[in-house]
Amino acid sequence: MIQAILKRLLGAVPAIIGVVIVTFVLTRALPGDPAAYFAGPAGSTEAIEEIRVKLGLDRSLPEQFVSYVGDLVRGDWGNSLTTGQPVLAEIADRLPASLELTLVGLLLAVVVAIPLGVLAATRPGSWIDHLCRGITTAGVSLPTFFTGLLLAYVFYFLLGWAPSPLGRLDPYTTAPDFVTGFYLIDSLIAGELDTFVSAAKQLILPAITLALFVLAPLARMTRASMLGVLSADFIRTARASGLRPTTVLFTYAFRNALLPVLTTLGMVFSFLLGSNVLVEKVFAWPGIGSFAIEALVASDYAPVQGFVLAMALLYVLLNLLIDVAYGLVDPRARLEA
């Protein structure tokens, strides 16, 4: 098993190299000149040229690439021009914020979507089936920034139940000591219950926004997959053996229906991580998505490259995780060493 995982990780190396090359070329090919951006509208031609030399942008592309790769290998992902901070530190600071938000949103979605899909499949045509269809249709047709704004408007502005949608903690609470970067976990480790409550309060609205969005594909996939499995021959065998409906439903049907749901989960997760920029913007969430967009607008190469690279590494790990989970569910998919 360990061997198989290591093998898979090694197999991902060419993909990572490809990502490094493509992001490098792409960021260089983008319109916009960082030197001009930093010199400002009033900057003279000499000033722009000076900045260009300082940033190493006057050298040829291959030269820039070699020095970029050399820095990467040494663990130096470059500095952000806008904030002046090292990119790696920024990512390490912001990635947990995005991850925490995404994971909680995904957890909420799974907790609702899977029972909903299972119930809809076992009672086709019932009210719960119609509810499932209604929620999935609404979920895909409402854009996240809209549901986010709506939730903030209703629960913060109108009802006052939620705190102001500004970041991960209210202004009077300080961040817990860094352990995992997830405030919910770190605050518990530090034993600061107030911080935990504050973090949870800030988190709940953006997490629901994300959950509403990913609910649809998950519930729909669960329903379709369950319907398919429930009409399979082996379910008939199980029923003919007199097995209890709960055994048939969970031990026999649900575990078999889980495989496509796992695949969807993996896809939704990777999709969310990179693309919840809008939610992060609405809730002023200091995540990695808004960080990357700001850098892109400023033609700030290093953070963009760092972001894409971090995402690529994350995708590799995520796919591996999904494959391992697949193997746990389905013996036919066990990773071979």
Binding site: A232, D233, F234, R236, T237, A238, R239, A240, S241, G242, L243, R244, T247, T251, Y252, R255, N256, V329, D330, P331, R332
Partner: protein, 340 residues
């Protein structure tokens, strides 16, 4: 209907309908069939004649769209149709069990086969986990699976089709049922495996004095393994009788055509007679009393009259047919003599 005293399963004038968008399908009508303890009865007929509908109704696992509109099913004297869901489920797998065609897909693909046997044992017996495991391995050994301890942990995809069918038989027989319904158990297996599986079913049935309902479209197999045979056509049982009598002197024109369409020995394709026409559309509202009439070369005016199973002229009381213009025993015997 006259019944032997040790009747185990009795299907009495059963009617089953399917409500579909295209209309009501009258899948079974006035179907009566009895199985005595220890007896093996074959249920034959072409695809769509209602063989599986009958067996699913007996097991109480019919499709949600199916409605039993008339008749009764009795098992060891108990009225199965009156039984509530839970009571019926307690009976299924313990007293009456079923095996299916295409064994590789009829087993849970992601559960060890031994565990699947244990699931049935856990449902119907009080055995503790350790004893359950031992009994599951014993069940695998009973169906002649070599190295049962190792096979216990195998998944269906790691076993051959024949092995999977043995596992399914082990699941069905784990609680020593009194009735086994085998729904085309050898479909999807190669010929040598077919024979091995059928011999196994016969041996185990004989050992346990288990009644067996063998559903097949293979007349040759029915002839070899069954004491009696019931012939179905378009939701009716058209003829039922002892195997030898039925083959020696089929009285219903459909049975006669069915036998003529079955290869025996070194018959060439040219010698096989196809049956003209198709099964009638069972959604029709104007189905004739005899659903074979439209395909029947012997059809006459009296075929419009209502029809019921009755002893054939000049045959034993156990040989019943549903036909107004049956073949005479002498005519069919002469023809079969010519074949042989």
């Amino acid at each position: 209907m006259n019944m032997p005293s040790n009747t185990l399963l009795e299907v009495d004038r059963l009617a089953v309908e399917f409500r579909t968008r295209g209309g009501t399908v009258r899948a079974l009508e006035n179907v009566s069939l009895a199985l005595a303890e220890g007896e093996t009865v074959g249920l034959v007929g072409e695809s769509g004649s209602g063989k599986s509908v009958l067996s699913f109704a007996a097991m109480g696992i019919q499709d949600a769209a199916a409605r039993i509109t008339a008749g009764a099913i009795r098992f060891a004297g108990q009225d199965l149709l009156a039984k509530k869901g839970a009571a019926m489920k307690a009976l299924r797998g313990r007293e009456m069990a079923m095996i299916f065609q295409n064994p590789r897909v009829a087993l849970n693909p992601i559960r060890q086969v031994g565990r699947q046997i244990e699931d049935v044992l856990a449902r119907h017996t009080d055995l503790l986990p350790a004893a359950r495991r031992a009994r599951a391995i014993e069940c695998l050994a009973e169906v002649r699976i070599p190295d049962p301890e190792r096979r216990y942990a195998a998944y269906p995809f790691e076993l051959s089709g024949g092995m999977c069918q043995r596992v399914m038989i082990a699941i069905a027989l784990a609680c020593k049922p009194r009735l086994l319904i085998a729904d085309e158990p050898t479909t999807g297996l190669d010929v040598t495996t077919q024979a091995a599986i059928m011999r196994l079913v016969r041996e185990l049935s004989a050992e346990r004095r288990m009644a067996t309902l063998l559903i097949t479209h293979d007349l040759g197999m029915a002839r070899e393994y069954c004491d009696r045979i019931a012939v179905m056509h378009a939701g009716h049982i058209v003829e039922v009788g002892p195997t030898e009598a039925l083959f020696a002197a089929p009285r219903h024109p459909y049975t006669e055509r069915l036998i003529a369409a079955t290869p025996v020995g070194a018959a060439s394709l040219a010698e096989l007679a196809a049956i003209d026409g198709n099964l009638p559309d069972l959604r029709r509202n104007d189905l004739p009393a005899c659903r074979f009439a439209e395909r029947c070369p012997r059809r006459g005016a009296e075929c419009e009259r209502p029809l019921a199973l009755a002893p054939a002229d000049g045959a034993s009381a156990t040989h019943l047919i549903a036909c107004h213009r049956p073949l005479t025993a002498a005519a069919t015997e002469a023809r079969h003599a010519a074949f042989a």
